[in-house]
């Protein structure tokens, strides 16, 4: 999915895959190339909420 960006500064994200299934990343993280904030991918769903909204 090359249409997502860092929700904080809109910079590009770098994908680090931990577990893949066919053409999909199931576990991994997206790391902002600008601010280095890390966004987890769990069960194929990237969590791109800014850190202060990640509770729950």
């Amino acid at each position: 999915m090359d249409i997502v960006c860092c929700p904080l500064d809109k910079s590009e994200l770098e994908l680090e895959a931990i577990r893949r299934d066919d053409d999909e990343v199931l576990e991994g993280r997206l790391v902002c190339t600008e601010c280095s904030e890390e966004y987890p991918i769990e069960d194929g769903i990237p969590n791109l909420l800014p850190p202060d909204m990640r509770e729950a």
Binding site: I3, P7, I45, P46, L48, M53
Partner: protein, 199 residues
């Protein structure tokens, strides 16, 4: 027993499609082109996103702030073998600029009722703060950024939300809103606003 309890747990966590979702999906399906890229914000169970993806060849992305909704939308799409990417995020904020030909949103729009306050995911799926417009306004603050130059927003609103106030807020952000379709129900009238950038 535990299955039923799980089921009940699901129902309090994720908004299930209702008349408003159907109205929004009907309008979007008619307007979306097979070559479009579409974002469904606040996807909930994934109903609107799924309808668009299965009725058109458009490439559809669904997002929700609620992790239970994200999982349910993904599971439902997989079950029906509908291609759908799901992202957990706040409205359009984690998406690149000038990306979507259409953005759909059935937002939380009821004004807060303190007597009925529950402080759970369902409350967040239903209520948009004191005015009912807080989430809609937050959405309108950023949506133009992710639209292509002739991109379109389909926003579900209710008379309970004050449709004129929503259109006024959009106009202040150089967005033109017109009613694409409306339907009356016992306690409210629902409308799908078609919102475009003023050029």
């Amino acid at each position: 027993m535990s299955d039923l309890a799980d089921q009940r747990g699901m129902e309090t966590a994720v908004y299930q499609p209702a008349e408003d979702s159907k109205l929004l999906a009907d309008v979007a399906v008619e307007s979306v082109d097979g070559s479009d890229r579409v974002l469904d914000v606040g996807t909930g169970s994934g109903y609107v996103a799924g309808r668009i993806a299965s009725a058109t060849a458009a490439s559809v992305v669904a997002s929700d702030v609620n992790p239970h909704a994200c999982r349910q939308a993904r599971d439902n799409a997989r079950e029906e073998t509908i291609p759908l990417d799901v992202v957990r995020g706040d409205c359009t904020r984690p998406f690149d600029a000038e990306t979507f030909d259409a953005v759909t949103f059935n937002p939380p729009y009821l004004p807060r009722d303190e007597a009925a306050e529950r402080d759970d995911w369902m409350e967040r799926a239903l209520t948009g703060g004191e005015t009912g417009r807080e989430v809609i306004e937050s959405f309108l603050d950023d949506v133009a950024r992710v639209l292509t130059s002739d991109g379109v927003v389909f926003l579900l609103v209710s008379t309970l939300t004050d449709i004129e106030a929503v259109a006024g807020y959009a106009a202040d952000r150089s967005l033109a809103a017109e009613t694409a379709r409306e339907e009356s129900f016992p306690f409210e009238r629902l409308a799908v606003l078609r919102i475009t950038e003023e050029h």
